[in-house]
C-alpha cells in the first residue's frame, strides 16, 4: 500500500493504520490513547488528521490505510481538530504543571505547549475526582489529572492479563479505579505508570523525590530474573532515584516487572553494609578494608594450609555478575578446592558432567511469539518470570497452545490449552505421561522406563499440541530445576523434544543462571547441596544468603554456624548473616559495579555502574581480585571487569557460545511416589534475591504477605486443621508456626509453604517430607 503523509510517501502492508505509516516515515502525529503494544481505543481523538476526500478529520491511530491515500497532519482542518481536542482535554485538567509530579515528562504538557490555546474559555467549576489508595507502588493521588485514555485499563486486560483497573461510571464522571478500593497486585503494575501520559498514575516510592529534568539516565541490566530486562536507571546526586524500562524489543519489549522497577529502594536501605566488618569477641565490628582483607587472607591460608583446599567451599549467588562468579570459582580452585557452585536452590546434581552444553532456554526470547505450542514444566510462571509469562500470554492470545505441568494450579493469567497440576513426587511421572503419549501418537517405540505409565487425556492433549505446527517449545521452570529429580525431568524433556521436534530448555531462575555455567562455576567436588550436607571449615559466600537462598536452609545454616570461617561478600549487613559470618565484605550491588549477565537465551549483556559505591563498598570483582593478589594466587591481575569478562567470554556482548541442552547417559528411572505429606515451596516474587527482600515498597505489597501453609480441603482435614487456624509445620529439626489456608489448587497430600522467607527459614528441603499439626 502506498500512502502519502504531508507529501512524503510510505509503503506499508495492508491492514496498517495511518499512525503506523507515519511512524515508519518519522512523521509525528500527536496522540495519547494510542500505544503500539495496546489495542486501539481511538478515544482521545488527539491524532485527528485530514484525509483527502474524507469529509471529517479521522483518527490516525485507528484509520486503516488505503492505497493512494493522502494524509495531511498539519493542514488547517487537522490543526483545528487537534486544537479543539486539546482544549477539551484541558478544561477539566488541573493547570498546575509546576507542582505536578509528571511535570517535565508529561505528554499532555508537551502537547499543550504546541496545541493549547491561551486563556481558558472554560470558566465553570472543574471536575473533582477523589484520590484512591491502590497499594504501595502506584499513586492515584491525583486522579483529576486523568484524561481517560484507558491505557492503564487496557494494559491490565491485555498485557498483565488481569483487569484490576477499570473505568467506572460514564460521561464526564468516568473514573479510573479498582474494585471498591482494592490494591493493584499485578507483578507488572508499574508499567501503568509509564503508560499514563499524564500525572494521574505516578510512582508512589518516587513521588516528589525529584524532577525529571534533574535526573541523569544511565543504562543497566536487571539483576533479578533470567530475562535480562534492559533498564534505564535514573540518578541524582549519586543516588538512584528510580528505574524505568529501556526498550529492547527482543528482550523486555518496553516493559519491566515491578521487581525491576522498585527494587532500587534497597540500594539506599539502612541495611546497606558500608564498611567491612569482622567478628571480634563474638560480635561484628567495623574495620578498614586492609584489616578485613588481611584477616581473610590469613584465615583462609591457615585453614587451607592445615586442612587442605577441600576444607573450603565457595558459593555464589546466581544473581552475582559473570565476572564475580568467575573470579570466585577461580579463587576457590586456586586454593585447591573443587567445592564451588552458583546453584544454591538445586537439589539434584546428577546431570552434572553429563550436560551437552550450557543449559539455556533453547530458543531466543523473540522466537516465543512465533511458537505454535509451548509446554512449561514445573514453574510458578507468573511470579517466577513475569515478563516471560507475558510473552506466553500474548502467544496464547494469538494462536499458540500453551500448556502447563505444574505444582499447584496458580492462575498464570494465560489462556491455557491444558494444565495438569500434580504433587512434586508425581511431576516426573506426569511429564513421562506426555512423553509416552507423544511417542504413541507418533507411533514410536516408548523409551525404556516408561512401561508403567498410562497417559491421561490431558497428557495426550499436551502431546498432540507439541506435535502440531512448525515451532514448538518445552520449558523447564524453576521448580523443575530445584526438583529432587531434576535430572529425570531434564532427560524426559529431552526425550519429549526428540519425539516432537520441539525445542527444549530452561527458563532459568536468576540473572546469571546461564552465566554461572559460562563462568565455569561448577563443582568438581562438593556441589551447593553437599557443601552444607558435609560441613566445611570455611565458606566464602558471594551475594548469597544461604538461610534464604538454599534448597535446605536448615542444613545450610547449621553448617555455617559450625564453620570456623564464613566470609560473606554482601551489600547488606542485616539478617541472619550476623549470626554466622566472621567477615562481612561490603560489595557493590549492580548499580555500583560494572559486570555482565547472561540471560536465559544466552545473551550476554554488560553494564556499567551508574553511581559510585555507597560508603566503602567496592565492586565484587575488585574485592576478589585483591584477595587473589593477597593470597599470592596467579592470574588475578585484572585492570577492569571487561578484562575479566573477556577471559571467560572472549566474544564479549552478544550471544555466548556453547549453549546446549543435551544430556548424555541419564537413564529414565521414575521414582516411586511416596505416601508422606510433601512440601511444595515456591519462592515468593519479592523474596527472590537479597535486593528485593529489602525493597520497602515491594515488601508492603500483597505478594509480600507472610507465608502460609496452604492445603486443599482433604489435606486440611487429614491434619485436623481448618482455614485460618494456626499450624505447626515441621521438617527435620526445624519448625515454623504458620496460618493454615484452604487452597484447592494445592494437590492432595501436599502442603504449600513458601521458601526464601524468614518465617520459613527454619524448615528444610523445598520439596521434602513435611509434617503439619495443629498449633
Amino acid at each position: 500500500m502506498e500512502i502519502e503523509i504531508d507529501g512524503k510517501v510510505a509503503h506499508v502492508p495492508d491492514g496498517s493504520t495511518i499512525m503506523d505509516a507515519a511512524q515508519q516515515i518519522g512523521a509525528y502525529i500527536p496522540h495519547f490513547c494510542y500505544h503500539k503494544k495496546l489495542s486501539i481505543a481511538a478515544n482521545c481523538r488527539m491524532c485527528l488528521v485530514q484525509v483527502e476526500k474524507a469529509p471529517k478529520p479521522l483518527p490516525a491511530c485507528a484509520t486503516p490505510v488505503t492505497n493512494g491515500m493522502k494524509v495531511f497532519t498539519h493542514s488547517d482542518l487537522a490543526i483545528k481538530a487537534q486544537k479543539g481536542v486539546m482544549e477539551f482535554l484541558l478544561i477539566n485538567h488541573p493547570l498546575d504543571c509546576p507542582i505536578c509530579d509528571q511535570g517535565g515528562e508529561c505528554q499532555l504538557q508537551d502537547l499543550a505547549v504546541g496545541y493549547g490555546g491561551g486563556a481558558s474559555r472554560f470558566q465553570e467549576a472543574k471536575r473533582v475526582v477523589f484520590h484512591k489508595d491502590v497499594g504501595p507502588l502506584i499513586s492515584m493521588q491525583e486522579m483529576a489529572r486523568c484524561i481517560h485514555c484507558t491505557r492503564c485499563v487496557r494494559f491490565g486486560q491485555e498485557v498483565a492479563g488481569v483487569m484490576e483497573l477499570g473505568m467506572a461510571n460514564r460521561n464526564m464522571h468516568s473514573e479510573i479505579m479498582t474494585f471498591v478500593g482494592r490494591s493493584v497486585d499485578s507483578e507488572l503494575s508499574g508499567n501503568m505508570i509509564d503508560l499514563c501520559p499524564v500525572g494521574a498514575l505516578t510512582s508512589r516510592p518516587f513521588r516528589y523525590a525529584a524532577r525529571s529534568w534533574e535526573l541523569a539516565r544511565r543504562k543497566s541490566i536487571s539483576p533479578h530474573d533470567s530475562l535480562g530486562a534492559n533498564l534505564s536507571v535514573q540518578v541524582k546526586n549519586n543516588v538512584v532515584m528510580r528505574v524505568l524500562p529501556r526498550e529492547n524489543e527482543d528482550v523486555n519489549e518496553c516493559w519491566i516487572a515491578d521487581r525491576e522497577r522498585f527494587s532500587y529502594e534497597a540500594l539506599g536501605s539502612p541495611a546497606r553494609l558500608t564498611k567491612p566488618m569482622i567478628r571480634v569477641d563474638g560480635s561484628l565490628r567495623e574495620v578498614d578494608w586492609n584489616i578485613a582483607l588481611d584477616y581473610v587472607t590469613h584465615a583462609l591460608k591457615d585453614i587451607v594450609g592445615s586442612s587442605g583446599g577441600q576444607a573450603l567451599a565457595g558459593l555464589a549467588s546466581p544473581h552475582a555478575t559473570l565476572e564475580e562468579i568467575y573470579l570466585l570459582q577461580k579463587l576457590v580452585r586456586a586454593l585447591g578446592s573443587g567445592n564451588i557452585d552458583f546453584r544454591p536452590r538445586r537439589r539434584d546434581f546428577s546431570s552434572d558432567g553429563k550436560l551437552g552444553g550450557v543449559p539455556w532456554l533453547g530458543l531466543r526470547l523473540s522466537e516465543i511469539k512465533d511458537l505454535d505450542a509451548a509446554l512449561v514444566v514445573g514453574s510458578f510462571l507468573r511470579k517466577d518470570h513475569p515478563l516471560f509469562a507475558q510473552r506466553l500470554r500474548q502467544l496464547a492470545k494469538k494462536w499458540g497452545k500453551v500448556s502447563l505441568l505444574s505444582l499447584g494450579a496458580d492462575d498464570p493469567l494465560i489462556k491455557l490449552h491444558a494444565q495438569l497440576s500434580v504433587s512434586p513426587a508425581e511431576l516426573p511421572r506426569a511429564l513421562a505421561a506426555v512423553v509416552k503419549a507423544a511417542a504413541q501418537l507418533k507411533g514410536e517405540t516408548v523409551a525404556a522406563g516408561l512401561e508403567s505409565i498410562d497417559p491421561c487425556a490431558v497428557s495426550q492433549a499436551i502431546a498432540r499440541s507439541l506435535l502440531d505446527g512448525e515451532k514448538r517449545a518445552i520449558f523447564l521452570g524453576n521448580a523443575a530445576e530445584q526438583h529432587p529429580q531434576a535430572a529425570q525431568l531434564h532427560a524426559l524433556a529431552v526425550e519429549l523434544a526428540r519425539i516432537t521436534g520441539a525445542s527444549c530448555g530452561f527458563i532459568g531462575e536468576a540473572a546469571n543462571s546461564v552465566g554461572g555455567y559460562v563462568a565455569k562455576a561448577l563443582p568438581t567436588a562438593l556441589n551447593a547441596y553437599e557443601m552444607f550436607a558435609q560441613p566445611r571449615q570455611a565458606y566464602v559466600l558471594l551475594g548469597v544468603e544461604p538461610e534464604l537462598d538454599c534448597h535446605d536452609p536448615q542444613q545450610a545454616l547449621s553448617a555455617l554456624r559450625e564453620a570456623r570461617l564464613v566470609v560473606s561478600l554482601t551489600p547488606f549487613k542485616d539478617g541472619t548473616v550476623r549470626d554466622y559470618a566472621d567477615v562481612l565484605l561490603p560489595t557493590a550491588p549492580f548499580t555500583e559495579t560494572s559486570g555482565s549477565f547472561v540471560n536465559a537465551e544466552g545473551r550476554l549483556q554488560s553494564f556499567k555502574g551508574v553511581v559510585r559505591p555507597l560508603g566503602d563498598a567496592r565492586p565484587g570483582w575488585k574485592v576478589l581480585r585483591v584477595l587473589g593478589n593477597l593470597l599470592d594466587l596467579p592470574g588475578f591481575d585484572y585492570e577492569s571487569s571487561e578484562q575479566v569478562r573477556d577471559e571467560v567470554a572472549p566474544a564479549g556482548e552478544g550471544f555466548v557460545s556453547g549453549l546446549g541442552n543435551g544430556l548424555n547417559g541419564v537413564a529414565l528411572v521414575l521414582p516411586a511416589t511416596g505416601a508422606a505429606l510433601q512440601r511444595i515451596a515456591d519462592v515468593p516474587i519479592y523474596q527472590s534475591d537479597p535486593l528485593v527482600r529489602r525493597a520497602a515498597a515491594l515488601q508492603r505489597t500483597t505478594d509480600a504477605a507472610l507465608p502460609t501453609a496452604r492445603m486443599n480441603a482433604e489435606t486440611l482435614a487429614t491434619v485436623g486443621a481448618s482455614d485460618g487456624a494456626s499450624v505447626r509445620v515441621k521438617q527435620c529439626s526445624g519448625e515454623a508456626v504458620l496460618v493454615a489456608r484452604l487452597d484447592e489448587t494445592v494437590p492432595v497430600g501436599c502442603v504449600r509453604v513458601a521458601a526464601a522467607h524468614r518465617a520459613t527459614a527454619a524448615l528444610g528441603e523445598m520439596f521434602g517430607a513435611i509434617n503439619v499439626e495443629r498449633a
Partner: protein
C-alpha cells in the same frame, strides 16, 4: 394506551386488536409467518429475499436511514461459524416510542422479520436488545419467543427446512448510548455500552467478533410485509427513494399523542391532524421531526413539510427515527434545550474526549443561560464548542448533542439573547406551566 391510526396499515395491522391480539394465533390469523413459510417451503434463494428488500428501498428505521437491502448484502456469504442478526429495540431517543408499541402489539412481526433476515444472511443466532425501562414489553417478547419456538418458527430445523435460527431477548438497563449499534453489541457482550470505532463494521466484526447485522425493530417488522406484497409494492406506498409506510411517534403539545403509521411523504399537517391537532388550540412554535437528535424546525417551515427523508432534510433537519416532538408557543426554547443538553451530557458514554468534555460544557453553558447567568459571548462559545465536537467523535452521539444546540440557537437566537440580557425567560413561567397541562388535568 396510544392512539393508533392506520391509513395503509402494514405495521399497525396488528395493532387493531389492541392489547389482545399480539399472540401467535392472532398473528397467524392475519397472515403472519406466511412469508417465512413460503420462503422455506418454496426453497427461495437467499438472493431473492435480499433483492426484494432492495427493491422495496426500505431504509433503516432506527435513525440513520441506511438502505436495508444494501446492508444485508454486506454480510459475508461464506463465513464459517456463527453469524448474527441483532434487533435494536433500545429505543432511547427522546420522542421515540414506536418500537415499544410494535413489540407490545405485534411482537411476532419482529420475530418473523428477524427469522427471514437470518435466513437471507445465513445467520444462526439472533438477539433482540430491548430498552431497559420497558420490562413488561420484554416479558411479553420472551413469551412471544416461546410461542414461536413451540410452533417451530424458531429453533432447529425451522418448518422442516433444515434452516435453524435461535433468537433470544436481551434486556437493557438504562443507557441511551446502547441504541448505537456497536455500543449495543458491547452491551450484549456484557460490557459497558461504549461504541466501537468503525471500521471494522459489524458485518465483518460484530457480536463476539462474528459477522453481524443490526436493524431497528420497525425495519425488521416491515420485512414480512415486503415479502408478502413484493418490494415494488412497498416502495409505491411511499414515494421515490422513500419506500413504504413509517410509524411516527407524535409527542408534546398535541391532543392525541401516539404512534401513527402513514406512508412516507404524508404532509406534516395531516399527521398533526391525526394526532388531534394542537393542544388547547394553541399555535405551533417548533417541531423536532426526527427524535431529539435532529435539528429543531420552526413552525412555518414545518407546516410546509411532508414526512419523508428528503423533505425533512430539505427543511434542515432529519427524519431520524420518526419521533415528532411538537412544541407550542408556551415552550421556553432555552429550557427545552437545557433539558436536551443535560440528556446528552448524562448519556455520553465517556470514552471520547470531545463528547465527554464537550457535552458537559454545552450543558453547563446552556444551564447557566437558563438560570440567568448567561454571558454576552455565550452563543459564540456554544457554536464553537459544537463545531469542535461534531465529526470528531467515535459515534454519532457527539453530533446528536450538537445539532439541537446549533439549531435552537440558530432559529431562536433572540430568545437566548433575551435570557442572557434579562436573566429570565421570554415566555413567562406561568405560561410555560399552563402549557404542560399537568395541574389543570385534574380540574
Amino acid at each position: 394506551m396510544a392512539i393508533l391510526g392506520a391509513i395503509n396499515p402494514m405495521l399497525s395491522v396488528g395493532l387493531e386488536g389492541g392489547d389482545k391480539a399480539w399472540r401467535l394465533a392472532d398473528y397467524v390469523r392475519r397472515g403472519g409467518y406466511a412469508a417465512l413459510r413460503r420462503i422455506l417451503e418454496e426453497k427461495l434463494p437467499q438472493e431473492y429475499v435480499i433483492n426484494e428488500v432492495k427493491k422495496s428501498v426500505l431504509r433503516g428505521r432506527g435513525g440513520a436511514g441506511f438502505p436495508t437491502g444494501l446492508k444485508w448484502s454486506f454480510m459475508p456469504r461464506s463465513f464459517p461459524g456463527d453469524k448474527y442478526v441483532v434487533c435494536n429495540s433500545d429505543e432511547g431517543e427522546p420522542g421515540t416510542f414506536k418500537d415499544r408499541d410494535l413489540l407490545r402489539y405485534d411482537p411476532h412481526s419482529v420475530i418473523e422479520g428477524m427469522a427471514i433476515a437470518a435466513f437471507a444472511m445465513g445467520a444462526t443466532r439472533g438477539y433482540n436488545y430491548i430498552h431497559g425501562e420497558i420490562w413488561e414489553i420484554y416479558e411479553r417478547f420472551e413469551e412471544a419467543l416461546d410461542e414461536a419456538r413451540a410452533a417451530g418458527f424458531l429453533g432447529k430445523d425451522i418448518l422442516g427446512s433444515g434452516f435453524s435460527f435461535e433468537l433470544f431477548a436481551h434486556h437493557g438497563y438504562g443507557a441511551y448510548i446502547c441504541g448505537e449499534e456497536t455500543a449495543l453489541l458491547e452491551s450484549i457482550e456484557g460490557k459497558k455500552g461504549q461504541p466501537r470505532f468503525k471500521p471494522p463494521f459489524p458485518a465483518s466484526f460484530g457480536l463476539y467478533g462474528k459477522p453481524t447485522t443490526i436493524n431497528n425493530t420497525e425495519t425488521f417488522a416491515s420485512i414480512p410485509y415486503i415479502l408478502n406484497l413484493g418490494g415494488e409494492h412497498f416502495l409505491e406506498v411511499g414515494k421515490a427513494n422513500n419506500g413504504g409506510t413509517k410509524l411516527f411517534s407524535v409527542s408534546g403539545h398535541v391532543n392525541r399523542p401516539g404512534n401513527y403509521e402513514v406512508p412516507l411523504g404524508t404532509p406534516f399537517v395531516t399527521l398533526l391532524e391525526m394526532a388531534g391537532g394542537m393542544r388547547g388550540g394553541r399555535k405551533l412554535k417548533a417541531c423536532i421531526p426526527g427524535g431529539s437528535s435532529s435539528p429543531v424546525v420552526p413552525a412555518a417551515t414545518m407546516m410546509e413539510c411532508t414526512m419523508d427523508y428528503d423533505s425533512i432534510s430539505k427543511a434542515g433537519s432529519m427524519l431520524g427515527s420518526g419521533a415528532v416532538i411538537v412544541m407550542d408557543e408556551t415552550t421556553c426554547m432555552v429550557k427545552a434545550l437545557e433539558r436536551l443538553s443535560f440528556f446528552y451530557y448524562e448519556e455520553s458514554c465517556g470514552q471520547c474526549t470531545p463528547c465527554r468534555e464537550g457535552t458537559n460544557w454545552l450543558y453547563k453553558v446552556v444551564h447557566r443561560i437558563e438560570h440567568g447567568q448567561g454571558r454576552g459571548d455565550d452563543l459564540d462559545l456554544l457554536a464553537s464548542i459544537t463545531t469542535n465536537i461534531m465529526g470528531r467523535t467515535i459515534c454519532a452521539l457527539g453530533d446528536a448533542a450538537s445539532m439541537p444546540v446549533q439549531s435552537f440557537v440558530k432559529h431562536y437566537g433572540d430568545e437566548f439573547a433575551y435570557h442572557i440580557e434579562h436573566k429570565k425567560c421570554l415566555v413567562p413561567v406561568d405560561v410555560q406551566r399552563a402549557g404542560s397541562g399537568f395541574f389543570t388535568a385534574t380540574v
